[in-house]
């Protein structure tokens, strides 16, 4: 029975506030960003000073921090993925087996994902990594070694480790959820046919997990491209530009150097980069919608 026209009208009415808000939230500011990116504009003079053409984009791209920030962004995303995918898969495979205390272990594994980013970053910075009072410094000294100043000697690698620690539970949880939809009889059949653990993983489990892995990669990439609080708390993008990402550079240009024009140009570049990834993710999600 098709819904009566009155209900259709009500349905449209019920959809309107949400759509209006989302359009207002994204389209208006995005259009403004585009506009600012083409204007000569500083927060200090407080007003547009006229059309700048692509000058802001040229400033942003020729900024000495731009090339390193792009490289750091890539290294950050790829580095975290390289750690979380195998790590998450391994953890999911273990958690899918029955063992004593599995419920508690699951809670322990998931915990890092739920801790708010500023807390994780601060706990790592002061409690674990601090070159004087951190746990690892104590450990190094007790072994007769010189404590290592992680956040100034290897800022990007340390940031990657921190982010991987936050995201590995998410990958594990997604893959575990997908693993649980695998028919145990199929695995048993493969085992009886003489397929060893490695063969079962390669020919049965990994193909089954394909889509979940793709989703985990894309969602992480989108969130990682926007990493902010962790950088702000641990390294502030430094030393120098050693841990400045594209997102962080836009923040520096916009709100610290009071240059909204250049910041907006960087913002547009960040949107383009994220959209390149989002297209693939949206296609995957759209396909799942039709099932």
């Amino acid at each position: 029975m098709p819904p009566p026209p009155a209900s259709r009208r009500t349905a449209r009415l019920m959809l309107a506030p949400a759509l209006g808000m989302l359009a207002g939230w994204m389209l208006v500011p995005l259009a403004m960003t585009l506009w600012f990116s083409l204007q000569r504009y500083t927060l200090i003079t407080s007003g547009a000073q006229g059309f700048a053409g692509l000058e802001n984009y040229r400033y942003f791209i020729t900024d000495p921090a731009f090339a390193p920030s792009l490289g750091n962004t890539l290294a950050l995303v790829l580095g975290v993925l390289a750690l979380t995918l195998p790590g998450g898969l391994g953890i999911a495979l273990v958690l899918a087996q029955p063992f004593w205390g599995r419920g508690v272990v699951r809670a322990l594994v998931l915990a890092p994902f739920f801790i708010m980013p500023s807390v994780s970053a601060l706990v790592w910075k002061t409690m674990l990594l601090h070159p004087m009072s951190g746990l690892l410094a104590h450990l190094a000294r007790s072994l007769g070694l010189q404590p290592f100043d992680f956040l100034s000697q290897a800022p990007l690698a340390t940031l990657i480790a921190l982010l991987a620690w936050q995201w590995v539970p998410f990958v594990a949880l997604i893959l575990l959820t997908a693993l649980q939809s695998l028919d145990p009889a199929q695995i048993e059949a493969a085992r009886l046919d003489g397929a060893g653990p490695a063969a079962r993983l390669r020919h049965l489990i990994l193909p089954h997990l394909g889509r979940a892995i793709a989703v985990a990669v894309l969602i992480q990439t989108i969130f990682l491209l926007s990493t902010f609080a962790e950088i702000l708390v641990t390294t502030n993008g430094g030393p120098g530009t050693a841990s400045t990402t594209l997102t962080y550079l836009v923040y520096i240009q916009s709100l610290l150097q009071f240059d909204p024009g250049t910041g907006a140009a960087g913002g547009i570049l960040a949107v383009l980069l994220a959209n390149a990834v989002a297209i693939f993710l949206m296609r995957l999600i759209g396909r799942a919608l039709e099932r």
Partner: protein
Amino acid sequence: MSSLSPLLRKAALTLLGWSVGLTLAFPILWTALVSFRSEADALGAPAAVLAAPFTLESYAAITAGTRFTAPFVNSVLIAGGATALALLVALPAAWALALFPGPRTKALLMTILGTRMMPAVGVLVPVYLLFRDLGLLDSRAGLIVVVMLTNLPVAIWMLYGHLREIPGEIFEAARMDGAGPGAELRHVIAPLAAPGIAATALLCLILGWNEAFWTLNLSAAKAAPLSAFIAAQASPEGLFHARLCAAAMLASLPVLGLGWIGQRALVRGLTFGAVK
């Protein structure tokens, strides 16, 4: 593998599982431990910290003034307010999308999803300037609105997924009985969708509580929630170890609890239904 006896295999897995779990949770467990030590004891070597006596003085110290309690209240109001508002707007929208599917439903859903994929930094400049000009910088109301808007796409998608799973015949029966859309929402959808609404609320609360891009950029002393307050402790004037750990624990415990209850909701919500 098959040569292992089942009991031995289970013992090996138990050992492996627990070592992985304890290693991953170690930074949190250590933070919890230090939060129960005195400030002087917390500065010692790890073995000394471990052996030091148990005390609640750090918790007493940080909950005494308003330095920590004010941001805690802000977090509750911002995450709670944003969640309530997001549900209020998302529920009718999801209802319309799920029960009156048209030729444009999928395109609408994908557009809604697209707004979530947009990096926040792409709209940082105009949102900051708009907030400044409207006097919304460092206001709880402003943050509630922004956090609500960032959660809205997630809420619509999650509610849509849950509503779509309710068999259509139930609504048809309700309509045959002459129930209007309002009555349908109150008496048919709400009870059936309650678990989905709860799961959505849970996820919105977690995301809102942990939100750290907008809270850091749009708040200062007055409206700062915990995510911004804790980040400010990275400065040399920040809290000392034991108190810092106590603050970190109090800031994390609500979400650790909610997260544990809402694992499945999390997978569904954050993958937009692509993994269930």
